[in-house]
Amino acid sequence: MKSLALISVVITGWLLLSAVGDFPDWGDPDSPANSYRLSQHFVTETFHETAVPNMVTAVLADYRGYDTMFETVVIFTAGIAIISILRVFRTEDPGAGGPKVYEKRPDLIVDTTCRLMIPIIQLFALYVIAHGHHSPGGGFQGGVIFGASFILIALSRDMQAAHKWVPERRVLNLAGIGILIYAGFGLASMFLGYNFLDYAILHKIIPATPIEARYHSMLGVEIGVAFTVTAIMYSIYSNLASKGTMKEGL
């Protein structure tokens, strides 16, 4: 069995390498990916069409916004899947099979450091989310940072302390609302008579030109993404760390 695995790995590797010689050179301006009208259009037209200077964000949240919506759904699905597999809802027999509940030992240095850092982390997360239009960033990255701040609370103190801020039901609500925000932008465009996710028509309900409407809607969907990613990040951590009991983790 092991030799079979080795053979298939070798074949796959050889297959992948054999194609490399056929690729365009590094940074070749005439390579298909660089010269085809697709990338040309993104480079030259993005700013005129969406008013967003960061074209990566524009491709992600507008030109291919439908993909990004489902990438958010993938994260949401992962969270729901982990809850549905791991979460132990019945709590009749505490302790049986669950992880050992450690005695709480607040550590002054760790506690104080985290207390100082967490607001800064969260502020930075908000900045990353909001500034995705102009610099690298956006809902996924900001959401992960925001989620990490709650994980830090749970790590530095205990899970119950984190649950004061993000109880389980709130986490699930946040995750669902995040996707609802994203899909809601699509649905709103549909109700106003354009295709799904065609943000331009939203200028009818927000005070902006069609191009600015795209700009603002992208911020809106990024916020939706951030909601879901934040919630699911923390949800996955808390379920894994507490073996689904949501009581006491690492």
Binding site: D22, R64, I85, L197
Partner: protein, 507 residues
């Protein structure tokens, strides 16, 4: 509204899944009705799209209003509309069946189950109607993640089976993604039709990178559809999953992946390249012969009802892959027809297996002892599904096999024809064994002559409730309808096949 019908096909289950996720935590009771209503709306949208495609030709729906290839588009032709209709109909019927079984089998996780169920349907329907190669990957991810969870929510052994599936499924998806990456490097585009046009315009069909992309994509999709010898993940996953999960995954996941293979073969690479330039048809047809025989013979060895059906799926995958690679237009018609027919016949027998499990609590074939008298209507529904899998007219299975065999003869692939006939015979043995147990009673255990007295505690078993009986009988009726209206369905398929350019490359 009709303009938006292509998007509505998947937006109904998608929005329903969000609402179920949000409201279902508080009121689990809303999950089931919302699921059924949204799937019903999805069926209506698919039918509307199918009618429109047949009248006006291919529908293109630009998401976000961007012109492809800049944006993503739905591109629905006759094939896509037909498969979308079948997929949403199977989703609806399995959802109706789930009414009692989901609370019974998943306990407190009803709302999570239905959220995942609806997301699975969203993913599968999205795969069918999308016209973008990368978007297809994203939706493969959505449907794969949900299927892993839907399987793992079963009893203990399901978790291990799901874990194997996670590993295999991830490898398959990665292969597909790598292949799409190679195509992007060589063409600069992600839109399926546009990739094909670029391949022609740049004249790069000879390039190694395209060949590697083709191999990666094909093998990736084969892993996902459990094509022999990449099938190891399937039997246990479908046998140990909750019954609703196997009733929806069994008919749909493999069939949609076969649709994806057809789509990529004909729309992205083109028939000229796949069957003309590469001369691999023989090899793949032989592989499908192996799949058919291994699947059928393994099914013969099973005593667990659902595991037996799972092995039959592997054989059926062999039918369809082989039918496509016969490189014959009648074979292709047969393959596509079989996607539709097999979706419903697999649903039919898995619903039956679910009902038996729900009623008797047993998994093995002996649970069927004497059920003809106890649940006559259920058995009638099952008989139609079984006859269809064997290939007895006028059920759908007969006509699809008829076309497949004709395709095999026309292209001179006799080994495929023989494998199909052998497999039909094995199916006949399998199902008549079940019918025998259910009609005449199980074989008495050694040394006990009076077995029918021992079974008296089973006399409580009665006809299945309406929520289970209705989907089973509706599926059985659909199987007959698909068989009787085979001309109309073939007319729809022929619309696609005539554009596939298969005739031109035949010798």
């Amino acid at each position: 509204m009709i303009e938006q019908a292509p998007a509505l096909i998947l937006l109904f289950p998608f929005f329903a899944s969000i609402i179920v996720a949000l409201a279902g935590i508080r009121v689990p009771g809303v999950s089931f009705p919302l699921t059924v209503i949204s799937m019903f709306a999805s069926v209506l949208s698919s039918v509307a799209v199918l009618v429109r495609v047949m009248n006006d030709g291919v529908i293109r729906y630009k998401l976000g209003g961007w012109e492809p290839p800049m944006g993503i588009e739905f591109r629905i032709d006759a094939l896509g509309a037909l498969v979308a209709t079948a997929v949403s109909a199977v989703g609806l019927l399995a959802a109706i069946y789930s009414k009692r079984q989901v609370p019974a089998e998943t306990g407190d996780r009803v709302s999570q189950y239905y959220t995942l169920y609806l997301l699975l349907m969203t993913g599968l329907l999205g795969m069918v109607i999308t016209g973008d190669a990368f978007n297809l990957f994203v939706l493969i991810e959505v449907s794969a993640l949900t299927s892993y969870a839907l399987i793992a929510m079963g009893p203990r052994r399901a978790s291990l089976a799901a874990y194997k599936y996670v590993i295999m499924g991830t490898i398959g998806a990665s292969f597909y993604l790598l292949g799409v990456g190679y195509l992007y490097i060589k063409t600069g585009s992600l839109n399926m039709v546009d990739i094909h046009e670029q391949l022609i315009a740049r004249g790069i069909f000879d390039s190694t990178a395209i060949l590697v992309a083709f191999i990666l994509i094909t093998v990736g999709v084969w892993i996902k559809m459990a094509f022999f010898p990449l099938h190891a993940w399937l039997p246990n996953s479908y046998a140990y999953a909750p019954t609703t999960s196997s009733a929806v995954l069994g008919p749909l996941v493999t069939k949609v992946m076969i649709y994806v293979m057809i789509r990529l073969t004909f729309t992205v690479f083109g028939a000229d390249y796949t069957f003309g330039q590469l001369e691999w048809s023989e090899v793949v047809v032989w592989m499908s012969v192996a799949a058919i025989l291994v699947g059928s013979i393994s099914a013969l060895a099973q005593t667990d009802l659902r595991k037996m059906l799972a092995y039959l799926i592997i054989a059926e995958v062999g039918y369809m892959v082989g039918g496509v690679w016969l490189a014959d237009d009648i074979g292709l018609i047969g393959s596509i027809y079989h996607i539709i027919a097999d979706a419903f016949m697999t649903l039919c027998v898995f619903l039956f297996a679910g009902i038996i499990f729900a009623k008797t609590g047993k998994r093995d074939l002996n649970a069927l002892d004497g059920l003809f008298t106890k649940m006559p209507l259920t058995m009638v529904g099952f008989l139609v599904g079984a006859f269809s899998l064997i290939g007895i007219p006028p059920t759908a299975g007969f006509f699809s096999k008829w076309y497949l065999i004709q395709g095999g003869i026309a292209s001179g692939n006799w080994e495929y024809v023989i494998a199909l006939l052998v497999s039909s015979l094995i199916n006949a043995v399998l199902f008549f064994r079940i019918i025998e147990i259910a009609y005449f009673g199980a074989k008495p255990a050694e040394g006990h002559g009076d077995h029918h007295h021992a079974e008296s505690h089973d006399s409580k078993i009665s006809e299945a409730p309406l929520s289970m009986l209705f989907p089973l009988l509706a599926t059985a009726a659909l199987l007959l309808a698909i068989g009787l209206y085979n001309k109309d369905i073939v007319a729809i398929i022929a619309e696609f096949v005539s554009l596939s350019n298969l005739g031109a490359i035949l010798p």
